[in-house]
């Protein structure tokens, strides 16, 4: 049964057992504007929670995407290389960035649940 969690730097995580899929939220993509390029991590790379894992470029800005949890990169969304626009059209679905095998699932507890993230975004307006 998959769990959705969020960070206050606007990443989402869908966790299923010890695998997590990571992307940026719909709010994040509206702030960025048209996404033109995504730099994805290498397969096999180990990331610590909070470390820079990917970069997402719009025309006029580049933003770091941070690993919400520690783990090993087991998959990346290659489709984004040819079609970065997916991040705009389906940020929390087909616009996923990478998948991790979690090193420390307990880290999940510190992340925001959907309600808390919604409140965070409302507070930004």
């Amino acid at each position: 049964m998959a769990t959705m969690k969020y960070t206050d730097s606007h990443e989402w995580v869908r966790v299923d057992g010890d695998e997590a899929t990571v992307g940026i939220t719909d709010y994040a993509q509206t702030q960025l504007g048209d996404v033109v390029h995504v730099e994805l991590p290498e397969l096999g790379r180990r990331v610590d929670k909070g470390a820079e894992a990917a970069v997402v470029d719009s025309v006029k800005a580049a933003s770091e995407v941070y690993a919400p949890l520690s783990g090993e990169v087991i998959a990346v969304n290659d489709a984004l290389n040819d079609d970065p626009a997916r991040v705009n059209s389906d940020a929390e679905g087909a616009g996923w960035f990478f998948k991790l095998r979690l090193a420390n699932p307990a880290e999940l507890d510190a992340l925001l649940d959907p309600g808390a993230y919604r409140k965070l975004v409302e507070g930004l307006h």
Binding site: D34, V36, V59, P84
Partner: protein, 513 residues
């Protein structure tokens, strides 16, 4: 087929000549679309042919360059030039770029054979005039800034920053120290953190206080044994003088660090303030900003760096020195130059820009330089005073040579800073700097420079007031569709970045890809 492909397909050599022309503004194909094999715009003698000494490395295929006649090439570039706004066209109020008039005397003098046709590696005895010119320019730069030494080689402002930070790192190394961080205000030009990072430093931000200047107390709290340098701009990118520069210099030096000043905004200070009096250790000067060498569509620049005595020994090679026998170039790290950081580019520096800048300085003289900086500051403040009631200045005046507005005056209009600037294009002006500095929202940074007439400023002010009123009246669509009168409407930068087309390819090749 996408709309873009259809438009592209519509451009053929046969019909493009008449398609889309608007009076004097004529559509012009790429050179590669006007090729006739064998045609040439330069008459050269025929080679003799025969044996060569190329060692079987002769190129064995066509290059693909198009052949045009001289009249075709002149028309090509003349038509392209008509699509460019320029200082010669009108006010170019780009903040921190100092788009001042480029005197034509400077072009004439730079092209004298005695400057243009000398080779950098000729014997010193045959280039004494050139070396003396560099020495003379160095003297003017040192005198204007109150600094004892200057490094002439850097090719641009960012290159000067690199030279300065390298010199600082070398000075620290000579003390046996290796510090890891450089302090840079959030309002700094992007080259500052990029330069620090190139030299291996971590960049730490310094915050501004409510007055838009560096927060001195916060700075003092941040200074420590791991800080190598601070990189400041003054006047800063908000157009405000960093009035605690001496205190900042004292605190920085007490912490064993160095004070680098980004000289991009020196135009406000020439003849009135010497940064050397305020305790800086290094400062680059953008000859293409303050001293009128042409921007040329993006370059070349020239960025000599004035240096304190503590950094002078590390200045990059070559040095121009004068001994009893005349001027000579020191090109090796020997003797007095043993501690130099070495070479940072080929040859000696941007000689062509040195000639132009010196001609500008001599034309103005001490009195004229002071008058110019005064008029630059006067013009900026006149713009501020004339627009303060309809736009939102980010800080109370007086400003220095440039004035910063933010987009609060556009709140609830549906018009962004970008939209506002695009509408200004249709009014006949190049927009001001947009979205920089980052510390205010939707920044609009206006620098008129000293050359603008009052009538010219009044026309600009009238256009700005008109646009501000129109935005507030709710006519957002007008702004969203701007510009309408420029050679092109808004361009699709998203597709350009998603599917980069960075060169022309023959249609067959392009179709295959």
């Amino acid at each position: 087929m996408s709309d873009w492909s259809k438009a592209l397909a519509g451009f053929t050599p046969e019909n493009a000549g008449g398609a889309g022309n608007r009076g004097l503004e004529i559509e012009e194909l790429l050179l590669f679309e006007q090729d006739a094999p064998g045609r040439c715009g330069v008459d050269l003698p025929a080679p003799k042919g025969g044996a060569d000494r190329l060692g079987s490395l002769r190129r064995n295929g066509p290059i693909g360059l198009p052949g045009l006649s001289e009249p075709q090439v002149i028309r090509h570039y003349t038509r392209l030039s008509h699509k460019n706004y320029s200082i010669d066209t009108g006010l170019f109020p780009l903040g921190s770029c100092t788009m001042k008039h480029n005197p034509r005397l400077n072009e004439k003098l730079a092209r004298l054979p005695g400057f243009a046709d000398i080779h950098p590696l000729q014997p010193n005895a045959t280039v004494q005039g050139a070396l003396e010119l560099i020495d003379m320019l160095a003297h003017w730069l040192k005198t204007m800034t109150g600094m004892p030494a200057v490094a002439m080689p850097p090719a641009a402002g960012a290159h000067g920053e690199l030279c300065g930070i390298m010199s600082i790192q070398a000075a620290l190394a000579a003390r046996g120290e290796r510090r890891g961080r450089v302090l840079v205000p959030e309002s700094a030009h992007g080259t500052n953190p990029a330069t620090a990072a190139t030299c291996g430093y971590a960049v730490q931000s310094i915050h501004a206080n409510a007055r838009g200047r560096v927060d001195l107390a916060a700075l003092k709290a941040t200074l420590g044994p791991d800080i190598a340098a601070i990189m400041l701009t003054s006047p800063n990118t908000c157009g405000l003088f960093e009035d605690e520069m001496r205190e900042i210099a004292d605190a920085v030096h007490a912490a064993g660090a160095y004070f680098y000043l980004d000289g991009a905004n020196f135009n406000a200070l020439v003849g009135r303030v010497r940064p050397g009096d305020l305790g800086i250790d290094a400062m680059h000067i953008n000859l293409h900003k303050t001293f009128s060498t042409p921007h040329g569509g993006g370059g070349p620049g020239s960025g000599p760096v004035v240096l304190a005595q503590s950094l002078a020994p590390y200045a990059p090679l070559p040095w121009v020195v004068h001994d009893g026998a005349g001027f000579r170039l020191v090109e090796q790290p020997d003797g007095a130059a043993a501690a130099s950081i070495g070479r940072i580019k080929g040859f000696h520096g941007q000689m062509g820009m040195f000639v132009r800048a010196l001609a500008f300085m001599m034309s103005h003289g001490a009195d004229g330089l002071r008058a110019a900086s005064g008029d630059a500051v006067l013009n900026a403040n006149y713009v501020l005073a004339s627009l303060a009631d309809v736009m939102t200045p980010s800080f109370p005046g007086p400003a220095m040579h440039e004035v910063l507005f933010d987009d609060h005056f556009l709140a609830d209009t549906g018009v962004t800073t970008l939209d506002f600037c695009k509408a200004l294009i249709d009014e006949g002006f190049h927009p001001m700097t947009m979205y920089f500095p980052l510390i205010v929202h939707g920044a609009l940074l206006v620098e008129p420079t000293e050359n603008e007439s009052k009538a010219g400023l009044d026309r600009f002010i009238a256009a700005m007031r008109g646009l501000a009123a129109r935005a507030k009246s709710g006519d957002a669509d007008f702004f969203h569709g701007a510009p309408r009168l420029a050679p092109r409407r808004r361009l699709d930068e998203t597709t350009a970045a998603r599917k980069p087309i960075l060169r022309w390819r023959t249609p067959a090749k392009a179709a295959a890809e």
